[in-house]
Symmetry: C2
Subunit: 752 residues, 2 copies
């Protein structure tokens, strides 16, 4: 995390192109507002989906929709112009089919055709696929004979253009945040814009490598020199000055950040796209196709994939690396573990002073006495931290489950980093979890700790907790989550404005980055922090639509909570490292509101094309709002979305000591996933994680940055090369459809 | 196991009443044959169920059935006689409602009425329930106003009589086999026959207590004295003589066994019942009622039950005892465990001689070389012992999964008790599994070992293996399973007849029982053996219907396998300890053919009334023939059937180290089972198990033999007393319906 901050400040950063409001149709903005408002208002009811989804279960609606499509098609057939365009699309298609796979020296397909347009067009199924990589023979599924069945030429073009635009937006923000954007998609986007794709232009997250075995992970002395820049946050936007004089002159360094207007416009574009008819239909069809294509692939190649795995020496599902990409530190131990720990402390140190209440110091024994409890009698039932039927659709009840025995005193004592004993008990439990991971060797985890923004000391306290209790583990990286509870702090008068909250969260970060020697502890802790997220009870909504007309954070002093998009913008635009898509979180944990967003075929398809990581926790969902067997994980995996499995809260949702394995086991059992499926999910989880480049090379293979079979080392991942080839060629195929649609000039030439 | 054999031989046993063929209508026999043949022939197709089930998904069929019922009801209404009988049933019903719960001094309800028939009948819902036990207040569901809604008086009487008869059959065979038969049901049966129920008459399985901590579990010197009886098996029936002289005089001791005629008649009665219209309808209605009643109970009392558990000190789901009641020893370790063990042996003792092939001794290294394998490269994929999609509906493929890497050499070396190294590797792995159980403290298991009946030495070899490798564990008891593969042995000419197979299986057993001093090893081993079962690929069928006309075992010399019922009879009638219902196994593992049998409402209802243990392995089923979410476990549990959870084959079906916990966790997650549900299943598993009386008292409470809340110690089982009361009162209610129907004389008196 630190490295990226530094590179922002040290290098001359890429300028962020500013968009002007006039470029965008006001209509788009209005539509976007409507979409957003509708989700927020009606998310719980089925109605909320009507804007997003294509009616699956209403026969009349389906019939009507089909009728309309047919009419459009018939109308098109009568137009000579359209017929010509259709024909040329078909030609382009058959040609690009043999050229789908981009090579390192990627050029736009049209520039270097294998078949000149004059050559009689062979059905592509008969063309030998020219692949630049070694892969065992398998049966490929390809469709020939149409440019894109079931959509009119106009709709196809419109959908493709909108999707390409959305992808470009995603790419822009990924670059800014040093997020991985898939190379293949990037290559296609370049070629569509007639730009040359260069490997040097690629942006990667740059995570800190873990210390070597003989290095001290708590060494405070290697902090780099201070830069002595000066930082100031104004209206929620940080400004960095070379020194005090420059600040007084109001001459900040030029930093790339999306200005408010651009951000809201981009947001509007994506939101409007969700409800755009042709795009919706196109995406829906493509997703259905992806799902069926995978079924076919599975039917044809299941045994070949398994053969590959069987002959892959030494590596199996148990010893491929898996990362738990979404887990809350305060619930990372299971309920039995917490119970055992509580009993243990009571047995071994009952007379230790562990709390202070109204100025009176209390021993552990006294704490339990005040709660009228004997720890010997405590059980997981009385502890009551496990989610059950009572929590289904009840986020409010669920949140109270974090209090053992319903007592916030015990939560404070055992599950917090800041308390009378300096968070020692919590640290000890986290370390016990870490030891188990280290023993199991192949499992990693990215627990989440909270920064609230109540006070500027929070960061330092967290860093001190980390160092004092030696919480570092090679199998752990840390994510910081910011609960979106400004409204609570404001109503208790802890904060004067939203702007102050942003300051509390970000100023310490900037200072530690600019002057590491002055903030050695925080600088050290940040080495092991790999991401940021914001969290809330996702069933609550503010109802406010974020726009460039919204108040700036310093003026946001009401007790109302700002909307998610507002949080997102101000937490994103801090030149940082946020895992967020303009409107949907990068590491979407498929819960609450995002679950509904992902039911939109447009967003789902964009997630596919941009291979946006999705961390799913079906067991957590199962307890909260979605029955296990109805969870879309299997469907997403089949379609080729970039899914991983995570536990969310082992304390609440898991029974065995091996929570992540339990999560995998249940998914495997309920959905009959193959070993290859499981290993693909595990590989995804490593890619999505904040493990360093060095570790990823070790766990996935040295070429992991490449895509397709070339980027896969089966000896490390146990993912069949056939599967990799299938995924890669399928992605290329989808992108080539977009690419074909963009070649409009060519089309007009061809159709003459 | 031993104790029971001895008591048979030592005490003067109960005589087994013989039935005469003429007592039974030939029609019943024919119907039984038809039912049996139909199941065997068509089990796989949906059709097979038509005889058993009530049409659920065919609206026309349902409507027609309803119409018919209505016509019958209307016809009855016109009869004055029936109207009278109906009225008296209602009176008896309202009266017996207040008397449903039998007390220790149980008498027939009619003998001691609380309300005399003359008293105006109050709706029973307003009567305070008089319960002889303490139970927290809860909301009871009771139905008043009809004797038994939706069934005609005639049908009701006919169904009740048939069911009572079937229960008496079950009770008879349970007594013979020293099986537990539920006390409540027994009390009702007594009262129906105007007999006095006495606690002394109860029969219990008498399992050997485990040795004390300071005792040597392998002490061969405490074998009791020889009895010097003589044993001889003739025509598959064992005869025991006081001595050789008596044998020559052909004067055997009188032993209770069901003669062939009686057995086949009883079998026919139960089979015919399955297809009996009125009984089918009645059972179907009662089962539906049981399910709905539980839903209602759950809705009303879920929180009260949970409150009980929360205030239950020290005990929770993790530290209640659970027994894995169905698990194969040769697959009791998970795939990763087996893999690790193989690698470990190869690393530590490659040069040890472990096999002999065609007279040539082979080291471990040579074994692997001959298979062209390097154990370092081995993975769970190449090991290929895990069930997957390929095994679904494929028992044949599934069975070959027992061969690691497809090599029977490795199975012989690692998973057998008889091989060059005397089964040492297998013993070591089993002991590793045992150590883990002992550490986890609360989990017990009953692994199954095979006796094939190929040679009379098998028993001794097994006993020697057990003693030599010190396989005893306080957390394990052993079940012997006999694969039904006579046909294979016969075709290889290993056995001359089925009779010889029976001899090989049973003569050593009898001899060790009669003369323990001469068979010390086997006598010792049998102390830890608690049951018998027979197994086969249940998708195969012989097509032969067993009857008293079937050949006797000595004459069964064909290569055809005898039918299951034939196996069952001859293995059951050995005066023994078999866990079998005349036609359905007591510890029904819900797989294969039994799954189809349990879809018969009649059998299902009988299983309920007789509380016959059912060990279910949904994960195993999931891999073999039934999708997890469609597994009937939840439904069975709700209805009140006596279900437990078992793993079957952790090697094939489980991912984590804690296979039984994984099984419970998945069930809890997929079906949202409450803690009380889970603890009820765990309690069932202990009751079903072969743990000794002493252990059961410790794990379930000293009164575990009593039924209802009195028999439950919540501090040990963590099952809510409310749940126990609900189950108990519900069973009493069901039995009282049967009891009411039997009071026909009374009815005629009342209706005058």
């Amino acid at each position: 995390m630190l490295c990226q901050l530094s590179s922002f400040l040290a290098e001359m950063p890429r300028q962020f192109p500013k968009l002007n409001i006039s470029e965008v149709d006001e209509q788009v903005r209005l539509l976007a507002e409507k979409v957003f408002a509708k989700v927020l208002r009606e998310e719980d009811s089925k109605d909320a989906l009507s804007l997003f989804t294509v009616p699956e279960d209403c026969p009349i609606g389906q019939k009507e929709a089909k009728e309309r499509e047919l009419q459009k098609e018939l109308a098109e057939q009568q137009s000579v112009e359209t017929a010509k365009r259709k024909k040329s699309f078909k030609m382009i298609r058959s040609q690009s089919l043999s050229l789908q796979i981009p090579s390192q020296e990627w050029k736009a397909p049209s520039a270097n055709p294998v078949l000149s347009p004059a050559t009689p067009v062979l059905p592509s199924t008969f063309l030998p696929v020219q692949v630049p990589y070694d892969v065992p023979e398998f049966q490929r599924v390809s469709i020939s004979g149409d440019y894109c069945a079931g959509v009119t030429v106009d709709d196809y073009e419109q959908a493709a253009k909108s999707l390409v635009k959305a992808l470009l937006i995603r790419e822009k923000y990924s670059r800014l945040a040093y997020h991985r954007f898939p190379r293949t998609t990037s290559q296609y986007l370049c070629s569509m814009q007639d730009e040359k794709w260069k490997v040097e232009d690629e942006v990667y997250p740059d995570f800190h490598s873990p210390p070597e075995e003989n290095e001290d992970p708590y060494n405070l002395d290697d902090a780099p020199d201070n830069l002595d820049y000066v930082i100031k946050i104004k209206g929620g936007i940080p400004f960095v000055y070379d020194n005090k004089e420059m600040m007084e002159l109001n001459e900040p360094r030029s930093l790339p950040y999306p200005d408010l207007e651009t951000y809201t416009l981009d947001l509007s574009h994506v939101l409007a796209l969700i409800a755009d008819g042709p795009t919706k239909t196109y995406c829906h069809r493509r997703l259905n196709f992806l799902e069926s294509k995978f079924s076919l692939h599975e039917m044809l190649n299941e045994m070949s994939e398994f053969k590959e795995l069987k002959s892959n020496p030494h590596r199996d599902f148990y010893n491929v690396r898996k990362v738990d990409t979404h887990i809350h530190a305060a619930a990372c131990m299971n309920q039995k573990h917490l119970l055992r720990f509580i009993k243990h402390t009571y047995q071994t140190e009952p007379d230790r002073i562990v709390a202070e209440k109204k100025g009176k110091k209390m021993t552990l024994k006294q704490v339990f006495e005040s709660l009228h409890m004997d720890p010997y009698d405590l059980t997981v039932d009385s502890l009551d931290v496990h989610a059950g039927r009572q929590t289904f659709h009840r986020f409010d009840k669920f949140n109270s489950k974090y209090n053992p025995v319903g007592a916030s005193e015990l939560r404070d004592l055992y599950l917090k980093t800041e308390n009378y004993i300096g968070g020692e008990y919590f640290a000890r439990m986290v370390k016990e979890v870490a030891r188990e991971l280290e023993e199991s060797k192949y499992q990693y985890t990215e627990p989440r700790l909270s920064i609230y923004g109540r006070s500027p000391d929070e960061w330092l306290n967290l860093a001190k907790w980390f160092i004092k209790h030696k919480v570092y583990s090679p199998n752990m990286r840390w994510i910081i989550q910011v609960p979106r509870i400004y409204d609570i702090f404001r109503s208790k008068n802890i904060l004067p404005s939203f702007g102050k909250m942003l300051e509390n969260i970000f100023v310490p970060l900037f200072e530690a980055t600019i002057n590491p020697k002055d903030h050695k502890e925080l600088h050290l802790f940040l080495k092991y922090v790999t991401g940021f997220d914001s969290v809330d009870d996702e069933s609550k909504h503010s109802g406010h639509m974020f726009s460039d007309k919204s108040l700036n954070p310093d003026l946001w002093t009401s007790e109302k909570n700002p909307p998610y998009s507002y949080y997102l913008y101000y937490m994103y635009e801090e030149p940082s490292f946020f895992h967020h898509y303009p409107i949907v979180p990068l590491n979407a944990d498929c819960g609450g509101v995002w679950f509904f967003f992902l039911q939109s075929p447009v967003l789902q398809y964009l997630y596919y094309l941009a291979q946006i990581p999705i961390a799913m926790s079906p067991l957590s969902n199962n307890s909260l709002f979605l029955e296990y067997s109805k969870n879309p994980l299997r469907e997403f995996l089949h379609k080729g979305l970039h899914v991983s499995l995570s536990t969310d809260d082992p304390m609440q949702f898991h029974y065995t000591k091996e929570a992540l394995m339990e999560e995998y086991a249940i998914a495997a059992q309920v959905w009959k996933l193959s070993t290859c499926d499981l290993c693909e999910i595990a590989r995804n989880s490593v890619l999505q994680s904040g493990l360093s480049d060095k570790e990823k090379q070790k766990f996935l293979g040295v070429n992991y940055c490449k895509e397709g079979p070339e980027g896969n080392d089966i000896r490390k991942t146990n993912v069949a090369q056939i599967r990799m080839a299938f995924r890669y060629e399928t992605l290329c195929n989808e992108l080539s459809f977009l690419s074909d649609a963009m070649r409009t000039e060519e089309i007009s030439t061809l159709s003459k």
